[in-house]
């Protein structure tokens, strides 16, 4: 799947995987986030065959040119989850919008684990 946009010179299509990689990279850079993980067993099995790298644990959907991002993360124990999630949402939204030039509608953060 790709997200399509255009400028004066022609069309630009950005693959979901490119956006997922950017989102995953930025999310891992966020303070308090230890890792991103596949959301279920199926995703995890797929990961065995396709090296996902930074795209792991990030799901993307889009309606028209608006992007919806879901992040499945493991947080560090002892940090304020609400504060980290808030800054995670902010930084992912900012970076993806900056990278793609399209609007990120929603960033959902799913805390699936805590690393002690």
């Amino acid at each position: 799947m790709t997200v399509d946009t255009n400028n004066y010179y022609g069309n630009i299509s950005i693959s979901d995987n490119a956006i997922r990689t950017v989102a995953g990279f930025v999310a891992l850079d966020c303070y308090g986030v230890v890792d991103l993980v596949a959301k279920n067993f199926r995703e995890s099995a797929r990961e065995l065959f396709h090296k996902e790298g930074y795209a792991k644990g990030v799901t993307i959907s889009h309606i028209d040119n608006r992007i919806f991002i879901d992040l499945h993360c493991i947080f560090k124990y002892g940090v304020s989850i609400s504060a980290v999630a808030e800054s995670l949402k902010k930084s992912v939204k900012y970076s993806v919008e900056n990278f793609t030039g399209m609007i990120v509608d929603t960033v959902n953060v799913h805390v699936v684990g805590v690393c002690v």
């Binding site: 303070y31 230890v34 596949a38």
Partner: protein, 133 residues
């Protein structure tokens, strides 16, 4: 010369620190740092510290152990933004050294600050071995 830090001194230090941070928060905001350049680093840090001070003011005990624990708890609860979360982690580490101490020596203070930095760095450890949740 100051040889030890008691609960009362710690409280004074914290209050002075917060008021100094309040005076300089615009300057820290202007640093406009990572990850989103929206310039609220100083404000976030100040709000975190303000919440921590609120917790210290509520604390009935005057020994260093209870005060630092209240301070760390207040910082954790009121953490805002990346800078606030990092500040709260520094005080969490600080608190782990001052636990059960009525007062600490200057050497212990240095050790507590080092522990604070170490705990703050621990949250940057990346990539666990878990493959799915």
């Amino acid at each position: 010369m100051q040889k030890s830090i008691s609960g009362a001194t710690f409280k004074k230090m914290v209050l002075a620190g917060v008021s100094l941070l309040e005076q300089n928060k615009e300057y820290i905001d202007s640093l406009n740092v990572f990850p989103v350049p929206d310039g609220d680093t100083g404000t976030n840090m100040f709000l975190t510290m303000k919440s921590a001070v609120g917790e210290i003011n509520k604390c009935m005990n005057t020994d260093l152990s209870s005060l630092s624990e209240a301070f760390a708890k207040g910082a954790l609860r009121g953490a805002r933004g990346n800078s606030g979360v990092i500040t709260s982690q520094i005080f969490k580490g600080f608190c782990s050294v001052t636990k059960n101490c009525k007062e600490i020596s200057t050497k212990d203070f240095a050790k507590a600050m080092q522990e604070g930095a170490a705990i703050a760095y621990k949250a940057v450890t990346k990539r666990s071995s878990l493959s799915f949740a």
